[in-house]
């Protein structure tokens, strides 16, 4: 099963306010490793027309992206507001 289908099994209550934000896109442009693209277990970071974009909706709230972006500290990371976000049925 591919990742997209797996994430489809997870239950989310999606907040309209994003809880993740890239602070400065210029830094992503000079970031050599761009490790957010391949370490996020939900693939929330993707390249679109050569630019890094983040989609918070599928986020599993693990915290990985915040910690691995250690060179530029370029990710503003919060949990979604109370009642929103990933809601594991099994855990």
């Amino acid at each position: 099963m591919n990742l997209e289908d797996k994430l489809f099994l997870d239950r989310y209550v999606v907040d309209e306010i994003p809880h993740l934000r890239i602070i400065n896109l210029d830094k992503c442009a000079i970031c050599k490793k761009q490790q957010c693209l391949y370490t996020c277990p939900a693939q929330c970071y993707k390249l679109e027309e050569g630019r890094v974009v983040v989609s918070y909706e599928g986020c599993l709230e693990c915290g990985t992206c915040r910690i691995i972006c250690d060179e530029y500290k370029n990710i503003e990371w919060k949990y979604p507001r109370g009642g929103f976000g990933i809601c594991y049925k099994y855990g």
Partner: protein
Amino acid sequence: MGGQIYSHSLAAIVPEFWKEAPLERPIVEKRIWFLTKDSKVSLSHKNPAFGAPPFNSFTVLRAKFDKWFVQKAVQKGAFYIPETLVEDVIREGKGKIIGVKTGRTQGELFAPVVVAADGVNSLLSKNASLHAEISPQNVALAVKEIIAMPKERIQDLFDLSGDQGLTIEIMGEITRGMVGVGFIYTNLTTVSVGLGCILSDWVNYKISPYDLIEEMKNHPVVKPLLSGGKIREYLAHLIPEGGYNAIPPLYADGLLVVGDAAMMVNGLHQEGSNLAMTSGRLAAETIIEAHKSGDFSAGRLSRYKKLLEESYVMKDLKKYRNSYPYLEGNRQLFTIYPQIINDAATEIIRVDGVPKLVKQAKIISATFKKRNLWGLAKDAFSAWRAFR
């Protein structure tokens, strides 16, 4: 997210919890697998005594278990506010912590002590300036799947009687050389399957977690155990594995830090929930004492650290304080050794007319080809130093 909870630490809080808690299976067997690309050597220990009171450990599904655990606190008089995000600590001036700010309107809560039990990401203890961001070397990223299977099939596949369960830890090929382990836990009608590796390794090896978990599930030794199962959930979570040397300050004026928020995980033994429960209990004992004098200063709350040091929590963390630097510096444990062990086993078991003495010599020379005598001796010595 987690797999096993331990009887010892939970029974100290809820005696005979097994009579009421939503548990999956009591764990009576632990297997450790050393895998190569296609073969395995398995080490296992099974003891039926683990399947009877007071038990040793149980698998749990945390969504269910946590709900029950919260209700136990509520029954004791705790006031539980669900679906509420704590955004920051509240300080008196620039000094002591006197409460938290939540995301609710007029959501300020005041208390003589705040306990930061907010897990590995602990934004609370960071906001309280107790520590800076965790480094990618000090935390593991685990991905896991819950796979549903009929109860009887789980019992057959894993050779279990009735509701008893087992856990399997997997070292070798499946982490592609990264420091980490795979795991399979049996629940009642599901199995939890996944792997966790040090976060800096995922970055440096440029491996994606969703790719590696697929690879693991398709490993020829793992695959038959999951066949016919249906994926129900996909999860990701961090595990703080920095150990003793990375423990942040544990108390401040009006604040205590417990569990994952305080780096209290014994990664080598897959223990974390027990350290979280015990540190929570010791924090509570400290606070009850502090209430008697009405003094919640850092000095008074430092008793918490003392209690931890007297308990297995700090003793174990201290004992294994060098284990992570050791594992990171000795990756051959995750690559060469599983191969050596498997090759040796294959050689011993294969009946092919070669005299056993010749086989022995073959094994020894093959081993030395992979790692010379000096390397082996060094590994043995540094392992002894790191784990003694």
